[in-house]
Amino acid sequence: MSSSTELTEKKVFLLKSLDGVIFEVEESVAVQLEVIRELIEGDCARPFISLYNVTSEILALVIEYCKHHAETCSGGTSATIADEDLKTFDNEFMNVDENILLELCSAADYLDIKSLFELTCRTLASLIKDRTIIEVRKMFNVENDFSVVEEKAVRKEFAWAFK
């Protein structure tokens, strides 16, 4: 049987970003990061968990996302209201530039947060839609490494996409 102190005391975990900033997060937030959940279950989460691929700027955003999702889901509101609330939050949360989106996407992949990964992938895909080749290259800072002949051939191969 759990004593009352165990029920009220919230477990916290420390996450250390690539650039050395330590974040304190509650268990309900930490378990949303699938990689960390495994560490917690294996009791390897002390004294802190080093996340070598995520900068503090991005980790702060990831934690904000997980916190909001954890709070909304446990808030006791009805499922439809919670859904609406999350949708609004997600939309606003995605209102950042492409570079941040890409880093968030990559971090969600690394930390194994499925909902955030899906959200960022979908948002990035929607940014590509209805843009020209040149606009896409510019947006993601991708160099055109085709030779003139190659580019002509590939444009011909996919000519139906430009009709």
Binding site: S56, D109, L124, A125, F146
Partner: protein, 160 residues
Amino acid sequence: MEEFIGGKKFDLADQTEKRPEFCINDNMDVLIEILKRLDDRTLGVAACVCRMWCSLTRNESLWEHLCFRQLSPPPEGVRAVVAALGGYRRLYMGCVKPVRELSVVRELDRVWTRHEVELSLSLFCVDYYERVLLGDGGRLGGDSAPSASSLILLCKEMNV
């Protein structure tokens, strides 16, 4: 390096400077997942961005996903047959896209019925029969329309 507890006590401007250059092409797995969520036309545009995007776009798994992403669960056990008949890209361009565009409900993201998939796969067999078995192999380059003459019906309106 100094460490702080909590997210609020660090200087954001300082961190931005340290942020490593991040390029979409550095993480191929992420790029594939993004490409998987594009519609067909956007995928065609994406193919022309650079060599890497082009080679990823030619990957059959992307076209397989495009063929069946509106169907849950996706059809099982057809992969080997589709590959033998010409591959998912051909299946999509020749028999899935036209069927979808002909259908009454034109929303591309609507859920597909199993019957529609079966229809597309049947048409793909007709396409293979006429293209390969009847020796019409010379039209393999045509990617935008079904190459089998019987499937021309998918591109034309018929007066009945």
